[in-house]
Amino acid sequence: MDLVERLGPSMRRVARMFVSTDAVADEVVQDAWLGVLQGLAKFEGRSSLRTWIFRILVNIAKTRGQREGRSLPFATLAGDDLDQPSWDPSAFLGPDSDAPGHWSSLPFDWRGVPEERAEAAETLRVIGATLQDLPPMQAEVLRLRDVLGWSSEEIRNALDLTDTNQRVLLHRARAKVRAAVEAHLRSGE
């Protein structure tokens, strides 16, 4: 049950991306574990076990979502901002300057903020709230990578993403959390 406990919350969130209700997501997770138990003898160890489990989960969730008539376009899950700059363009010098694209004003350096404050529970709360607001695929890639410590390759395989998409999703998500931490630490200056 250890693996069930550890993978459970992320499996449920991933399932929920593809189906319409929490209750259906719970059923998808149950079906996925059943599929894992039935297929375990065929697991060849070519991917990590958790990657393999997620592949089964995602397949079941997608099928179930299609049957429900809920087939969300990738952009809805991933966010429609993937090709936008992650940093406010006004922070950089314009095309007519002597160094276009270089900093016009240096970014706020929060290293001056005492560690107790930067690392405080309140900062973690701000990060948690930011995660809730991210497009679901951005949030999940970030959670798997930086909260749970999966490798990029595992995430790509588990969620059926291209290498580029995985990297862009992670970058966007990290950039937004970084900005939220900055806003939080700046507000106490």
């Binding site: 049950m1 940093w87 929060w110 290293r111 909260v147 410590g149 959390v177 931490v181």
Partner: protein, 76 residues
Amino acid sequence: MACRDIVEMVSDYLDEALPAEEQAHVQAHLSTCDGCETVLAQVRQTVHLLGRLEEEHLTDLQRETLRGVFHDHVNG
């Protein structure tokens, strides 16, 4: 490459996910640019802070239901 481009690459740089040539290019830029170096440090600390978040937990009901799936399989 300008700072505006470098800030879009720091996440990949941190994960050493860039092609070797670009990885070296970003590294060279960072060694001479205070602004971009600050951004890298912040993204690195953001990743560190994310690692301190607690993962959500299953509810008791979810746990019990999943226990049932395993139990039925073993006894089924």
